[in-house]
Symmetry: C4
Amino acid sequence: MQTTRLEAFSDAVLAIIITIMVLELHVPEHHDWTGLWHDTGLSLLAYVLSFVYIGIYWNNHHHLFQLTERVSGAVLWANLHLLFWLSLYPFTTLWMAESDLARVPTTAYGLNLLAAAIAYVILQSRIFAAEGPEHALRKALGNDVKGKISPVFYLLGILFAAISGEEARWATVLAVGLFVLVAIIWVIPDRRIERAVTEAS
Amino acid sequence: MQTTRLEAFSDAVLAIIITIMVLELHVPEHHDWTGLWHDTGLSLLAYVLSFVYIGIYWNNHHHLFQLTERVSGAVLWANLHLLFWLSLYPFTTLWMAESDLARVPTTAYGLNLLAAAIAYVILQSRIFAAEGPEHALRKALGNDVKGKISPVFYLLGILFAAISGEEARWATVLAVGLFVLVAIIWVIPDRRIERAVTEAS
Amino acid sequence: MQTTRLEAFSDAVLAIIITIMVLELHVPEHHDWTGLWHDTGLSLLAYVLSFVYIGIYWNNHHHLFQLTERVSGAVLWANLHLLFWLSLYPFTTLWMAESDLARVPTTAYGLNLLAAAIAYVILQSRIFAAEGPEHALRKALGNDVKGKISPVFYLLGILFAAISGEEARWATVLAVGLFVLVAIIWVIPDRRIERAVTEAS
Amino acid sequence: MQTTRLEAFSDAVLAIIITIMVLELHVPEHHDWTGLWHDTGLSLLAYVLSFVYIGIYWNNHHHLFQLTERVSGAVLWANLHLLFWLSLYPFTTLWMAESDLARVPTTAYGLNLLAAAIAYVILQSRIFAAEGPEHALRKALGNDVKGKISPVFYLLGILFAAISGEEARWATVLAVGLFVLVAIIWVIPDRRIERAVTEAS
């Protein structure tokens, strides 16, 4: 099976996820800057974070399938599994933001990030299984520091979120800080894969 | 006529249907796990079920049109007819979930599932009519056990839903159980078609 | 300029318009068939009508651009102009349905249908201008009875809607009947264009 | 890397942005023309303006990538950056309209327009960097009067918006007038680029 339609469908789903979060941004009732900040400040920041995350996944997805030629039925479902977790981002993002970074919603957000990361690893391994050991991407990834360090950071973030609360705002800060950190790590373009793509074409 | 644009349009519609259900998930007012479960637990589970269903239809649609080369005007409308019933999933899913699996909404959900299944059969037969008796997919489907058993299970589920109620929760369980069962049957990848696709390419 | 991206963009916009109307369907508060009919019956019927209308436009758009090879800047804007009027369908559809087919909203719906029809004619003429007099579609359309009769029916429908009201429900029925009639006329596949497409390919 | 998927993704995002604004249009509670105007008149006008703006960006994006063959990782992110600012249009448009063109929301709208314009310039310069000095578009753009005058007009508009208020409605009129003016300037098709596209193909 060719990858064209899988890519088109994923593009559409990711495009919708990245955009509909704006629909959840309630227009501020007040008409001054304080009102904007007070009513939607945190939601806007959370929107930026989730926008960047979906952007990262789109980027990586894009690279992954540029180096992939064959897809099996298992790959189709592994892809849908990834899209499922990503589709929950608007929901967990909004819950976290509206709760003012309360303990449980922030933990739920972290768990959502982690679930998507695991789904991505599964998708990648299904592609490797379908393509054989000589897959160009496998070589390009090398020891894949980013891919290995992200779940660790997510887990740490979830841990801090789980012990956070009204009396432990420092833990909230650390949790969210770790979620932001992972995003920053990934925004820096992945030169390894880019090089492999250039070499392959 | 070529199938490219029909596929692109269907991809976009399915991508939107699969994703907008998240917009209907009301963010829980409480900020703990009990609140999440109480406010949105059932909606989340219903979302998962409908996500899987749309995923199945996308998968089958994908396979169907990979083996199809010619489309007639009748195929275009049969496709829109299928998309119409699928587009009601977010509506019936939410109604069922918000009603706490009440009798009528659960029946309506089952009827929606059945209507989409019938629409898919119509689409398939329109394609066979346009492509002639030697269609690769017709051979690949063989006696098509899955395709024949699904409507039976849907009908049974609708029946159980119709007799369910406050005093007959067991019927609700059976109805929903059957809807879940059909989804599970279809998630198992269809090796017949996959083989035919591999052989044809 | 090639038509690929114009078609992809239009597909996405039409797919969104055809689907988001479901988001506007408020889930019935009651959990019985009467509740479904009372709370959303009219909205559901209006949804079906607008779904069919968008389906018709997608079909015609599809055929139109299958026979088109060159697009100018004017065509891009004529296409956006058409998409603009179509994008208002969810809005006018909902207003009409929620107002229980009141005079002004039904008139507004008719005006929206008419505006889209005019926009389509403009788009078609811009394409003819870009492609020259020997355009395959121009010949295929012939004297174009459907295209000429639709605006007349729309105008009649708008007229009846404008004189309708609490005391003149017959006019409402006639107005909506005419809007439904135009849809039915167009759902019958356009054999002329289909034939031309087959001949051209 | 090829531009196909970047274009498809951008098309989907732009299609969603241009369409979801309709979801924000609250259906008027009254069922007469005055009600339509009173409840949604300003929102409808703001919708038209933002629809045209997104249409302009889609047009320019379309032209830009028709002349582009290679994209780097930096281009992918510059493109996402542009989409981010455009994705805020529905939010700032609605805030401005619902506030009855109050001082701060109108300023915020202008800042959003300016941010998108800057993001577009960044995207363009990233493409030039990836493609080398002999880029066909660079020559086509020439001294790029439109591109240089727009930010000036935006800045002026923001300035007028910032000093506007209940007692200075003339400043509001000037601000919005400038935002409309820039849109008009851009709707006039860019013959330079169109010519270059024609020559290149």
